[in-house]
């Protein structure tokens, strides 16, 4: 997986976020402050712009650029969290021009660890971690079983989607949603939903296929 594929991932993720921004905001309205879609749209648009301007040469540089852009432009809780995730992932990739399925697994793991360290959320707290955690494990399982990049990223996206479903039954213990206590039960977590979008984009970028969830 080379730098251009990583860029394709982010461009696709940005498009998915833009197409689903209202939905993400709608989810955030139910248990948060109705801005998650607005925040991420702003952040990913900035990331795409910065990639176009700086045209980073390596996968690591792409992820570092995206992380910086998300931190600088997103705001809210999701900005620093996603931004840190991308930056930590990038740090694991060194100077390599091409990244293997195994390397990407380590990068995704690093993203999860970075987000968990910054946000101190555990799985079950009804956050993006409830989508990203299962995704990282599913990805690793496919790779361990000898599957390829496309299979692994597809498995990660599907596991994230199942994780998102799991958040419906959870009570939020982190972020703004936690203020609503039991009233959060019965709603999807917005950040988990956006994590699904980002991983779907990864799957289609690695498979070179169109992504589900794109606005026609």
């Amino acid at each position: 997986m080379d730098a251009s594929t990583f860029r394709a991932w982010i461009v696709e993720a940005a498009q998915l976020v833009i197409d689903n921004a209202d939905h993400l905001t709608h989810l955030d309205a139910a248990i948060g402050d109705a801005d998650h879609g607005i925040n991420l749209r702003r952040g990913f648009q900035a990331a795409v712009t910065m990639l176009a301007e700086t045209d980073p040469a390596t996968p690591a540089a792409v992820l570092a650029t995206v992380g910086r852009a998300l931190i600088s432009k997103t705001g809210g809780a999701s900005g620093p969290l996603y931004g840190t995730g991308f930056r930590q992932a990038g740090k694991t990739l060194g100077e390599d021009a091409d990244v293997s399925a195994v390397q990407l697994g380590a990068a995704l793991r690093a993203a999860l660890d970075g987000i968990r360290q910054l946000g101190a959320a555990n799985e079950g707290d009804k956050t993006m971690v409830d989508a990203l955690g299962p995704a990282v494990r599913a990805y690793q399982a496919v790779v361990d079983a000898g599957g390829d990049l496309a299979d692994a990223t597809r498995a990660a996206a599907d596991a994230a989607a199942r994780g998102l479903q799991e958040t419906i039954g959870m009570q939020a213990h982190k972020g703004r949603a936690s203020y609503l206590g039991a009233r959060t039960i019965g709603h999807e977590d917005p950040g988990a939903a956006s994590t699904v979008l980002i991983l779907r984009a990864l799957a289609s970028a690695t498979a070179g296929l169109p992504t589900e969830g794109r606005a026609p």
Partner: protein
Amino acid sequence: MKKLINAPDDVLVDALAGVAAAHPSLSVNIEDRYIVRAGGPTAGKVALVSGGGSGHEPLHGGYVGYGMLDAACPGEVFTSPVPDQILAATKAVDGGAGVLHVVKNYTGDVLNFQMAAELATDDGVRVEAVLVDDDVAVENSTWTAGRRGTGATVFVEKIVGAATERGADLASAVALAREVNDRSRSFGIALTPCTVPANGKPGFELGEDEIELGVGIHGEPGRARGKLVPAKELAGIALDAIHADAPLSGDVLVMVNGLGGTPLIELYVLFAAVADWLSGHGVRIARSLVGNYITSLEMAGASITVCRLTPQLAELWDAPVETPALRWGR
């Protein structure tokens, strides 16, 4: 959505232009999104920097000036500011004695200020942060992100601002800020939702006789939905919750704060009810504020904040302040 704006995405920039035009005492950096005193940094003074989502005006920009804040960092409406702007503001006001970040306890604000502080420290600025978490509607447990920061932010900014103006060092400014926060509690009630311009739809819906109890300042629903009852009962609900959490006694500073869409005459009706409750519990109103000081866009409703005063805190409260939204003594 009916708003006096030009376009939803331009609200913050346009409002900052208005602040710049209205207040010669302030210097507004629209590009980097921060507001500082026109005079520039005060050498040798600990600088007070706060910030958060916009939509809470006059908080924070309206509190920049002598005796209160040195800088405010407004994020998009209801969205934490980003590290870049906090870093820029922090450097702009550093007078060599260090910078205190007054941070309302929201995950987004905490994380963004934290990142900015790390960057500022890398650049050689001494930075400390104090979290404001006064909202008793949220129980402070490992099962939540902790209490929200609401009305007490105004008290912290005013009182610590007065102390830093007198030369308090960074460590004692931190200690004082924590003391004010520890002695303050708030509770908010919403009669209507509000609409984030970029969103265009109200954050929630309420029936003609319904209210939200225990709301914060971001248009979110509260801890519970209730029926609209007389102001006397609402004051009781709020003050009972505060009193149960931190028993009130002695002299207090009380703020009856409008959330943005509630007329002042109603805030006075509520203040009368608050005064009745307090005198009934042997608590004396030594200082007070009635009006819109920390708002939630056009939301109708009010929050009540009480701070148990010490003679020192009362004296610092009375110290001169000269900001667009709070001014006395000069």
